[in-house]
């Protein structure tokens, strides 16, 4: 399973490294989103800094949708999906590999967006490790749910419009938890409920990674 996962993740990341869609389209889109939020909130940097945690995560969610769409469309051309199924790769490994590739891209995007939030909105981060941990945990959940929903919607002609509608409400807990942890990290210390948000993120990750590992085989047969 782990070897298969590494193979699939390596393949996806190689495709991304060569096509540079993530670098040339998704990352600039994230920056554009940050700029648009700034326009929407006005030039007052205090307001922007206050909204920075939520805006960061909303931008991450939008980028997640794009990254997942990309991850699905890579498999939809040239019968690549059938090829993957024929190759005898363990479905759980396939799920973990695809998720890992999406997660790796998201981590890079999040680093970029975090820098953008700090520079453009003037957000002051007092407890950096809290941000790092929350981003890592949130990314795992986003990548796992994204891969699951991407696989379920992969055969659909209306995938582009349906996927955000299905995926974004599901990841609402990640947005809430991530935002609260960011706020705690910016306030300069872990408030009493900071750890419970981290626990919620861990729970979210465990649930959807477990579901993916267990059910990805039947899901692939569905679409």
């Amino acid at each position: 399973m782990w070897r298969d996962a590494a193979l699939v993740a390596g393949k996806d990341l190689r495709i991304e490294a060569r096509s540079r869609v993530g670098l040339s389209q998704v990352a600039p889109f994230g920056i554009v989103a940050l700029a648009l939020f700034a326009f929407a909130l006005g030039p007052d940097r205090a307001v922007m800094a206050q909204g920075a945690p939520g805006l960061f995560w909303v931008a991450v969610l939008f980028c997640t949708v794009l990254a997942v769409q990309r991850s699905v469309s890579v498999e939809s051309a040239d019968g690549a999906r059938d090829g993957l199924r024929l190759s005898g790769i363990d479905p759980a490994g396939l799920f973990l590999g695809k998720s890992a590739a999406v997660a790796a891209q998201l981590i890079v995007l999040e680093a970029l967006l975090a820098v953008g939030v700090v520079l453009l909105y003037g957000a002051r981060i007092e407890v950096p490790w809290l941000i790092v941990v929350s981003c890592a945990l949130g990314t795992v959940g986003l990548a796992a749910t994204g891969t699951l929903y991407g696989a379920l919607s992969s055969g659909l002609r209306v995938r582009e419009t349906l996927l955000p509608f299905l995926l974004l409400p599901i990841v609402a807990p990640v947005l809430l938890a991530g935002t609260r942890i960011w706020q705690a990290a910016m306030a300069g210390g872990t408030p009493s409920d900071g750890t419970q948000w981290l626990r919620l993120l861990v729970l979210f990750d465990v649930v959807y990674v477990a579901v993916g590992v267990l059910l990805f085989g039947p899901i692939l047969e569905t679409a």
């Binding site: 699951l148 659909l156 509608f165 409400p169 807990p173 809430l176 948000w197 047969e221 569905t222």
Partner: protein, 311 residues
């Protein structure tokens, strides 16, 4: 529910293109929706051309459905009568309290009954031993009726919230959870509307329902920690002790019963429509072609020049 005639449950959805053995085999494929004759509701012609007739409801099921419908109607009427005329106004809330006779009942159906039933049905569909289109249709019907009740919950809650809290909408934990549930329900319905093989659609929908159900506790915790403004549960609190008394309590309970009956009735009707829809999906073209042929018209595509030639 099991009283329902389910002739299409195990039936393969594949359509036999050869309605009439003498007809051109390409006729079925070349016919486009636009080419079809205008609605011809006479089912008689389909019966003698080998098209599967639409599934009939068994008499017992029909009686059950009607009895439940009548009970729901009577229950709702009694709730309205007791709620508006018999019960006294509340000391603090005045006449506003009367919404309480409907709102919790509707919310119970939307948040627990409909969603719970959809979840259980979806899991039973996914479980290989219990896989049957019965569960798929039940889940779909439950979600669709649940959406109606969910919207009613939000609307009645808003009407109550404006005079009480001063706002139509508050980002309170339970309101937010209800709204998220509504969006998840709507996503499920949107997915079901995407044309697909019945088998594929059923499995896909069941997975989506399962993922959504797993999300509910997570959303519940997160919005609870996020913000809580809604008053505590009045009836479904731990210990099930009523915090209100007398005629108000009875009216409130009747409201629960009436809304539950209304849900069951709508569910039964929606399930029956689901059976007919599946029949239509599988037989629509056959039935239309058979009707056309029974009129003595050759189906389009049979002849490249005069498509209206007499057979």
């Amino acid at each position: 529910m099991t009283d329902f005639a389910r002739p299409t449950d195990t039936q393969a959805p594949a359509v036999d293109p050869a309605v009439d053995p003498t007809a051109d085999p390409s006729a079925a494929q070349s016919a486009r929706p636009g080419d079809r004759p205008s609605a011809h509701p006479t089912g008689g012609s389909a019966a003698n051309t080998g098209v599967t007739p639409p599934p009939e409801q068994s008499p017992r099921a029909r009686t059950t459905e009607r009895v439940i419908g009548a009970l729901a109607l009577v229950g709702t009427a009694c709730t309205v009568w007791l709620g508006l005329w018999v019960t006294p106004p509340d000391r603090q809330q005045g006449d506003l309290v009367r919404l309480v006779y409907i709102h919790p009942g509707v919310a119970w159906v939307a948040l627990y009954l409909a969603f719970g039933l959809a979840a259980v049905s979806s899991v039973l569909y996914l479980w290989p031993r219990t896989r049957s289109f019965f569960w798929d249709r039940l889940a779909a019907a439950s979600v669709e009726v649940g959406v109606v009740f969910n919207v009613c919950t939000l609307v009645s809650g808003s009407i109550w919230g404006k005079p009480t809290w001063g706002v139509w909408w508050a980002w309170d934990a339970r309101l937010t959870l209800t709204a998220v549930l509504l969006v998840l329900f709507l996503g499920y319905l949107a997915l079901r509307r995407v044309p697909a093989e019945p088998e594929v659609r059923a499995r896909r929908s069941a997975f989506i329902a399962l993922f959504a159900v797993l999300d509910v506790p997570l959303v519940h915790f997160s919005v609870n920690w996020w913000n809580t403004l809604h008053q505590g549960a009045t009836v479904l609190n731990p210990g099930l002790t009523l915090k209100i008394h007398g005629s108000m309590a009875w009216t409130l309970l009747l409201g629960f019963v009436a809304m539950t009956l209304a849900f069951v009735w709508m569910l039964l009707v929606r399930y029956r429509i689901g059976v007919l829809e599946d029949w239509l999906d599988a037989n629509e073209l056959d039935a239309a072609l058979a009707e056309r042929q029974s009129e003595g018209v050759r189906t389009p595509g049979a002849s490249p020049v005069g498509s209206a030639g007499i057979a």
